[in-house]
């Protein structure tokens, strides 16, 4: 710290318009309404229009679907980590379970995607929750390590027992009837997931209990509430999001295989959450919007892309751990000035 900085500090104050829009004055004029709605409309409208704008570039339309799948996982990770207090590093497990269920239902029973995707979402989430149930009493690092091991173990077991097509995977899964169904199904799921979970946490009783479990589980327990039930509910919600993504992924690539348990699905959502800002549920979506295109651009360089986003992740976690979303919110709502001490 240099000498001139020593006797002054940065003061942050809410902008007048922010204070006005907090209360009933939000609808007093178009200026306030615009201030309040602009960021939300920008995000929702931008995501909904993106496939239309990118329609001359089919490759990048596909990238939007991939972004949405990662965003679903990242929202699930953020929800579990910052509102339920379970850091789950096993994103690949949810994707894999969802993908395999959808592929099996489709190739064995001949169900169309319209049925396999909801079925994979609910049954997949049920299976994931049941499998994670014994680990739910674990905390922090221990849960993180266990959840990191689940996708690895699942892939090894499928390989060892030669289950579901073994290393070849399940081929011949039918695709979506139209690319537009695929894109809008995923984009709406992301938006609904993010905003519904925000509403759930901020307005519903169950959200209060979730945050209680994260902050002080013993106090929640002392209030006569079963923590494991709520943790299981949290895992169910997060894994449902992941399984939904996985089911869509298997229909997009018309294939389900071992690579859907891969590390990519565990590490990108975490990186996106850290970059975008944890605890906001919108931040992870922003993070995916930034990281996944970077990773697509670097696809020609092979595994270098994993190295690149690992470095981005480390940089953010060390130097800017609040993430883009919280930083942007602060700039949008507050002004800063130097104050002499």
């Amino acid at each position: 710290m240099s000498a001139e900085h020593r006797d002054r500090r940065k003061e942050r104050l809410d902008r007048g318009i922010k204070v006005r829009t907090d209360g009933v004055y939000a609808i007093s004029s178009w200026k306030e309404i615009t201030y309040l709605l602009a960021p939300r409309v920008l995000l929702i409208g931008g995501l909904l229009l993106a496939p239309l704008i990118l329609s001359p570039f089919p490759y990048w339309q596909r990238v939007i679907s991939i972004i949405a799948i990662y965003a679903l996982l990242a929202i699930g990770f953020d929800f579990l980590a910052n509102f339920v207090g379970l850091v789950s590093l096993g994103g690949g497990f949810y994707i894999g379970v969802g993908a395999y269920i959808a592929a099996l239902l489709n190739s064995e029973l001949g169900l169309p995607p319209m049925w396999t995707i909801p079925a994979a979402t609910f049954f997949g989430a049920g299976i994931c929750t049941a499998l994670f149930l014994p680990c739910l009493p674990l905390r922090g690092v221990y849960f993180a390590i266990v959840s990191l091991m689940y996708p690895l173990l699942a892939a090894r077991l499928i390989e060892a027992f030669d289950l579901f097509g073994g290393t070849d995977g399940i081929l011949g899964v039918s695709g979506f009837s139209s690319p537009w169904t695929e894109r809008y199904l995923l984009i709406t799921s992301v938006l609904v997931a993010a905003f519904a979970l925000r509403r759930l946490i901020n307005a519903a009783d169950v959200g209060l209990v979730f945050r209680g479990v994260k902050d002080n589980d013993q106090a929640v327990r002392a209030s006569g509430i079963n923590i494991t039930t709520y943790k299981a509910l949290g895992v169910f919600i997060a894994s449902a999001l992941g399984c939904l993504g996985g089911a869509c992924l298997s229909h997009i690539y018309m294939w389900a295989g071992l690579s859907q348990f891969a590390l990519d699905f565990s590490i990108i959502p975490i990186a996106a959450t850290v970059v975008g800002g944890g605890g906001t549920l919108i931040g992870p979506v922003l993070g995916c919007l930034i990281l996944v295109p970077i990773s697509e651009v670097l696809r020609d360089f092979g595994t270098l892309r994993i190295a690149v986003y690992a470095i981005i992740l480390t940089g953010f976690i060390v130097f800017k751990s609040e993430g883009i979303m919280l930083y942007a919110t602060r700039k949008y709502q507050q002004f800063e000035r130097w104050v002499e001490i």
């Binding site: 980590a81 850091v87 590093l89 014994p134 680990c135 009493p137 674990l138 905390r139 922090g140 690092v141 221990y142 993180a144 390590i145 266990v146 091991m149 689940y150 690895l152 173990l153 090894r156 077991l157 390989e159 060892a160 589980d217 013993q218 327990r221 923590i227 494991t228 590390l263 590490i267 975490i270 990186a271 850290v274 360089f301 092979g302 595994t303 270098l304 994993i306 190295a307 690149v308 690992a310 470095i311 992740l313 480390t314 976690i317 060390v318 751990s321």
Partner: protein
């Protein structure tokens, strides 16, 4: 007989892989998920110094160990020190660094052709009716020697005692004038050197591949979790348990199941007894 001999070799191999990880965790409560990357890096540096710079085998090994120690210390000093005490950030950051190193190597270094280090001594011998190559015997010998040296170091030198003090009670150690951050750097450097030493004795048995990094990390985590994080006796006992379990599964079930055993061991241990066989953590801290 075969099972016993190869079980011992495999167990010592696992113990070697886990040694550095358990040392770092024991001293500074830092789960160093970049462990596997440091392991591969040592092997790669040695290969580079030998084949590209043309140094003798011994010199390149020593130089590679020193470089790995410096990298380990740098990782701690530049990155991990800023997020001490946030276990989840520590895991994510160290894992990301490891990932960056490994995938960077896969992209820029370890590609095209095979990379091998020569065994220290060529050939094989018959031991109690089982054919064992000399390198595996050296692994067992060096593993035992390394453990002994480490034990002497921890119990006999000022630095070692300071590390032990940190491991037992960080605050008490600080009141006695032990600099916690400097000790953590030292532990990280030492842990990296141990990972490197394991790499140098184990790589001559196969070739240097990036996957070894992930494999070593899983094995180190398995051994440390089963033995109890931060416990030395536990780690060695767990290495023997998992080592023999693996040899038995390979013999009776097939090679595919080797990693399954380790992963199942982690999950079952964490569910049944999260503090491990010899863990000193309190039950309440880790589960509700």
């Amino acid at each position: 007989m075969e099972i016993i001999i190869y079980g011992i070799v495999n167990s010592v191999t696992l113990a070697l892989m886990a040694l550095g990880f358990t040392l770092v965790y024991g001293v500074s409560r830092l789960p160093n998920f970049a462990h596997g990357a440091l392991y591969v890096v040592t092997g790669y540096f040695t290969w580079l110094l030998m084949n590209r710079v043309g140094m003798p085998y011994i010199v390149s090994m020593v130089l590679a160990l020193v470089l790995t120690g410096i990298i380990g210390a740098a990782i701690y000093q530049l990155v991990l020190i800023r997020i001490r005490g946030m276990p989840i950030s520590e895991i994510i950051a160290s894992y990301a660094i490891g990932l960056a190193i490994l995938e960077g190597l896969r992209w820029g270094g370890l590609k095209g052709g095979t990379f091998t280090l020569p065994p220290f001594v060529e050939g094989a011998t018959m031991l109690l009716g089982v054919s064992v190559d000399y390198q595996r015997l050296i692994v067992v010998g060096l593993g035992a020697a390394l453990l002994a040296v480490l034990w002497l170091f921890v119990n006999g030198t000022r630095l070692g005692l300071a590390l032990k003090g940190m491991a037992q009670d960080e605050r008490a150690a600080m009141t006695l004038g032990i600099d916690s951050d400097r000790m953590a750097v030292a532990a990280m450097a030492l842990g990296s050197v141990l990972a490197g030493a394991a790499a140098l004795v184990l790589f001559p048995l196969g070739s240097i591949v990036v996957e070894a990094g992930y494999h070593v990390l899983i094995m180190a985590v398995a051994v440390c979790i089963v033995g109890g994080l931060g416990s030395w006796n536990g780690a060695i006992l767990a290495a023997f348990l998992i080592g023999f379990a693996q040899i038995l599964t390979v013999k009776y079930l097939g090679t595919h199941f080797q990693v399954v055993v380790a992963l199942l061991a982690i999950i079952i241990t964490l569910i049944v007894r999260p503090s491990g066989l010899f863990g000193r953590q309190k039950e309440l801290e880790e589960r509700v």
